[in-house]
Subunit: 216 residues, 2 copies
């Protein structure tokens, strides 16, 4: 009986706790859409926080011109490949290893609130999520405001809005996520990238370099 009461107290205690910043599962395969006033993109990605590797394939339009991107970011090796399938060429950039950021809510984030997206009245009709916000310094030294929604169960990203003076509001929605890596070969550069040399003089790339390398 005592054990039961103890267990119930523990259970209630756990349920009563406020949401805590969390880190998403380390292996994810999924899709995202990202948009601001001038830009719309749809990407499929494979994310490996253990190996610090991201494969990112995006189609989109910028100021009504379409573009395609295929990038492989190997943070641990410090290398980013931009892959051009059309003419089977590659661009190889240096990547700063310390620039890898896992998908997570930073520990100093503030909780905006917990809501059920949709409805809690029936199975499959709603999703319990926590929304967090904060500020951070951008790579260029500016200030960014962000707001992120992650699921309460599983700490899976649902959406993020990000504001800088340069970009305006950028809305990203995450969907069709499965926990795990659907195809580990996504992290291996294609054969035609093998002999491409690294431009040692070039400035180290970051995530945004992907877009500069895009074929428009």
């Amino acid at each position: 009986m005592k054990t039961l009461v103890l267990l119930m107290c523990l259970a209630v205690g756990c349920l009563a706790q406020a949401p805590h910043p969390c880190r998403s599962p380390p292996l994810l395969t999924g899709a995202l859409s990202v948009s601001n006033v001038k830009f719309y993109g749809f990407a499929k990605y494979t994310y490996d926080a253990l190996g610090q590797r991201i494969r990112f394939k995006e189609m989109g339009s910028y100021e009504n011109k379409t573009f395609g991107i295929d990038a492989l970011l190997l943070y641990r090796e410090g290398i980013m490949y931009t892959i051009y399938h059309g003419n089977k060429t590659c661009k190889k950039d240096r990547l700063k290893t310390e620039d890898f950021h896992p998908m997570e809510i930073p520990k100093d984030a503030s909780l905006l609130g917990q809501v059920v997206l949709g409805s809690s009245s029936g199975p499959g009709q709603g999703l319990l999520v926590n929304t967090w916000y904060g500020e951070q310094v951008t790579p260029t030294g500016g200030k960014a405001k962000w707001m992120s929604t992650f699921t309460e169960f599983g700490c899976v990203p649902v959406s993020t809005t990000y504001y800088t003076d340069m970009t305006g509001w950028v809305l990203t929605t995450f969907f069709n996520i499965v926990v795990g890596i659907e195809d580990p070969q996504e992290f291996i550069p294609p054969n035609f990238c093998k002999d491409v040399t690294l431009d040692d003089n070039a400035k180290a790339a970051n995530f945004y370099t992907i877009f500069n390398n895009a074929k428009i």
Copy 2:
């Protein structure tokens, strides 16, 4: 055995069907947030499609000034109350009965796609939704583009984006919805509204009049 095969075929047949435009449950209580570049609002609402009644309580900010709204829209009676709790007064406007639109995806809408918001890898980690888009004529005769996401199960609204040249993109997110009316008194105007007379000469109100009547 034959019955089993038939049942399985039926089940697979149903599952294989493409999503159809749908209408939300007729009685809903919930919350929404709505925002565009200049405007942010948070509203609690009670929605009765059977009686064609909506109660709408909103707090928000427009160009950094905060405002509060409490409106009761009785479409069947053709009356809208704007309720000012501060000084216990009311404004009574005429409402066009035919302007009541149930929460639904119009039959001529196009399906953008079906996705799982978040993840399908674990219980409570994702939400199966359908996104639809279309165009419509605004009350002022302009053109509006819209995109709406409803749950596959239960046809519950999740989010809507709406574009007109006048408003820009307006993003609405629906959450904490329960099927049913939490408090039926929400549809009864407070006592201090009883003796307010209807301005018969005034132009008929519509949903947007709520915002014009807002106390800023």
